[in-house]
Symmetry: C2
Subunit: 408 residues, 2 copies
């Protein structure tokens, strides 16, 4: 059993595509469709925001009654279908019906599909109703254009302020057979733990029951998408969906196989999450914050996230100013028990802070350590043995530009 | 008994000044000295950051043993004396000794002053030791230049990235006599509840015992400085100090007089806090966020602060984009129980959101409501009768510029 990093591709039995349905003003692709030629077990994680967009509420209801025979998911960008009241839910239902109908007309899909086998996701501006005519036309075209090499096209069609598509893939062998885990994601602003403005669909051709699927997804989501932060805003639409259709012939049904699946799924999710932080709105730097020496995981995560969220820390990185005091100050206001005398801080290999005060570091070396595109920061709390990693990006002039005029 | 808004002036018995001691590289005033010709009762609120700067630790120790005979406070800008270990505390002690010595040489001060009667405050870069020679020279000059009209000079000398000095003043009458409450403050970035990078000294010539003083300050601080947010960062140095020297002959010693004092003190603190939010780093707008219809104060404050902190909300105001969805989304991730269907949102007079979806508002009118310099936002939660107000500013390109290169 080995993981390889293959050329990204859809797992067997999955088809995808992306089309331009004119929902986005700029004419870019805005409708992605993913479908499986057989039933999928499904698991999903959703935003913790109390204001949940219609597609989130809709998918939660669908999955509560059917997490074993999902056949497809349609994702539109350009309109979030959030804060849209009853009409928003009606639009979700109508979209799913339309997709079920169109999909059934494609011979690949081999027969009838019910609306309750289709999930919907949306991302984009809040408070605007879905343009149903355009969306249904898009769904119809997409249903006819599904291909086994449509992974990248789907990844492109779900982008909003993203500058690059985000794809990750792993291949595993079990009992002489190969299976694949492949995922796409979007998200670059409004990114913060407990799900960000992110949508992600991960697919596998392994067979794995819904219960194990949910457990594996929860664990993978916690250490990947919940470990990135762009701006500390949590959106109304976040969804991470995992579909398993069993087309590879591999059943993930022993503790060893579950463990291998978990590990590869976590790798795929971490890869997608890091791609999101790297593509943070206006980002010029990708910042890895390692918290070590923590008494427990909650402390490590909260300190790391507080640092990752601090506008003062993020602007200092943008300005390539080795202003370590802001990191120590952020740790101090994280709400966790930290002790200045016990903390130690590194920029790359350069230790800049220890015993409650700056070391005799070279300002030049410290600056050089943060002048890279990929910056590594390590804060040791000196109060335990737990470590974790949070990924983030800097806060630039372009972030302000992008978000000052998002709707225009 | 009436409050008036007088020309700002020091209360009787107080003297102040500001001098340039070359601690700041740009030669601007950087040492403020405030002194009283008689003993003051004193109360203070300090940062909740676990990483407390040396002057915070030092003043906490001084006030723990003496909150009845304080005579002066020296404040330097340009160096925070934070993360400076034992040396930082030694420098505080030496500064207080030096000020006590210099003050005693000024005839106004009428006699010997002990180091335990002097408080110290610092603001500026973290992790750098105080330049003691410069500071002591500054203290010496300032001691000789104290005047009764030095309020503005002191306010100027404590500025860092502030663009204007911040002063507030109230006059009260009691029993045929007049007394004054006057305060200065600094702070424009790293501003968030539980004290920001802010220093403030409020003085009164009323006599009021230390216990009542602390109670009044705590109440005033909660609804003023703890109700503003610039960037969500809480600093290592925040201090709000209140001194009462009794020189007016008025004793605040009855419930009625305490109540009048409380009310005027709160007004002074709110005025200073609003001046800080208005002067937020790079701010182009002053934003008043009213939360109404909340079930309790904690909910109202948390929802208001989450909105005030959201980079997406703040950049939208900067871009004059009436993107109300971001405000609703921020309320949703505040961690408080909010219900989309019950919330209603106004930009100025324009209701933009109700019953879980946008009203039929005019985009033009909504945009006009946020094109002002002073923007009013009201969010009614629809779950109770408690209201509160949070003040903040927008997030601009200049914020990024200022904070990308703060140390250079």
């Amino acid at each position: 059993m080995t993981n390889t990093i293959p050329t990204p591709h859809l797992p067997r039995g999955f088809y995808a595509t992306g089309v331009a349905a004119q929902i986005k003003k700029n004419g870019q692709p805005d409708v992605a469709l993913i479908a499986s030629d057989r039933d999928c077990a499904a698991a999903a994680l959703f935003t913790t925001n109390k204001v949940k967009a219609a597609p989130v509420l809709y998918d939660q209801a669908v999955l509560a009654s059917n997490n074993t025979t999902i056949r497809g998911v349609i994702i539109n960008s350009g309109c979030a279908n959030a804060c849209t009241g009853e009409q928003g839910l009606t639009d979700c239902r109508e979209t799913a019906e339309s997709v079920a109908h169109s999909l059934a007309l494609n011979q690949i899909m081999a027969g009838a599909i019910d609306a309750t086998q289709v999930l919907v996701m949306s991302t984009g501006v809040i408070g605007v109703n879905l343009p149903m005519g355009k969306l249904k036309n898009g769904a119809q075209s997409a249903s006819m254009e599904l291909t086994t090499d449509g992974l990248e096209a789907a990844a492109r069609a779900i982008m909003t302020t993203d500058t690059v598509q985000k794809i990750a893939c792993a291949e595993l062998r079990a009992e002489g057979q190969t299976y694949t885990i492949a995922g796409i994601a979007k998200g670059s602003g409004m990114i913060h733990p407990n799900m960000a403005t992110m949508l992600s669909v991960v697919m596998t051709d392994a067979a794995i029951d819904a219960e194990n699927l949910k457990a594996a997804l929860t664990q993978a989501g916690n250490v990947s998408f919940n470990h990135i932060s762009v701006d500390g805003d949590t959106s109304t639409n976040d969804t991470l969906l995992l579909l398993a259709n069993g087309a590879s012939g591999v059943s993930v049904d022993t503790p060893e196989k579950v463990s291998a699946f978990q590990s590869a799924l976590t790798d795929v999710c971490i890869s997608l999450a890091k791609q999101m932080a790297r593509d943070g709105e206006g980002a010029t730097k990708f910042i890895t914050i390692s918290i070590t020496g923590a008494p427990d995981m909650r402390t490590a995560e909260n300190v790391g996230r507080t640092i990752a969220k601090s506008p003062l820390v993020k602007t200092a990185f943008y300005g390539e100013d080795a202003n370590w005091g802001r990191i120590i100050a952020a740790a101090g206001y994280s709400g966790e028990e930290v002790y200045p005398d016990r903390m130690a801080l590194w920029f790359g290999p350069v230790m800049v802070f220890e015993h409650g005060m700056p070391t005799r570091y070279s300002e030049e070396e410290a600056t050089r350590a943060i002048q890279m595109h990929d910056v590594e920061v390590r804060l040791d709390l000196g109060t335990g043995t737990t470590s974790t990693t949070i990924w983030t990006c800097d806060l630039s002039h372009d972030y302000v530009t992008i978000n000052g005029k998002y709707r225009t």
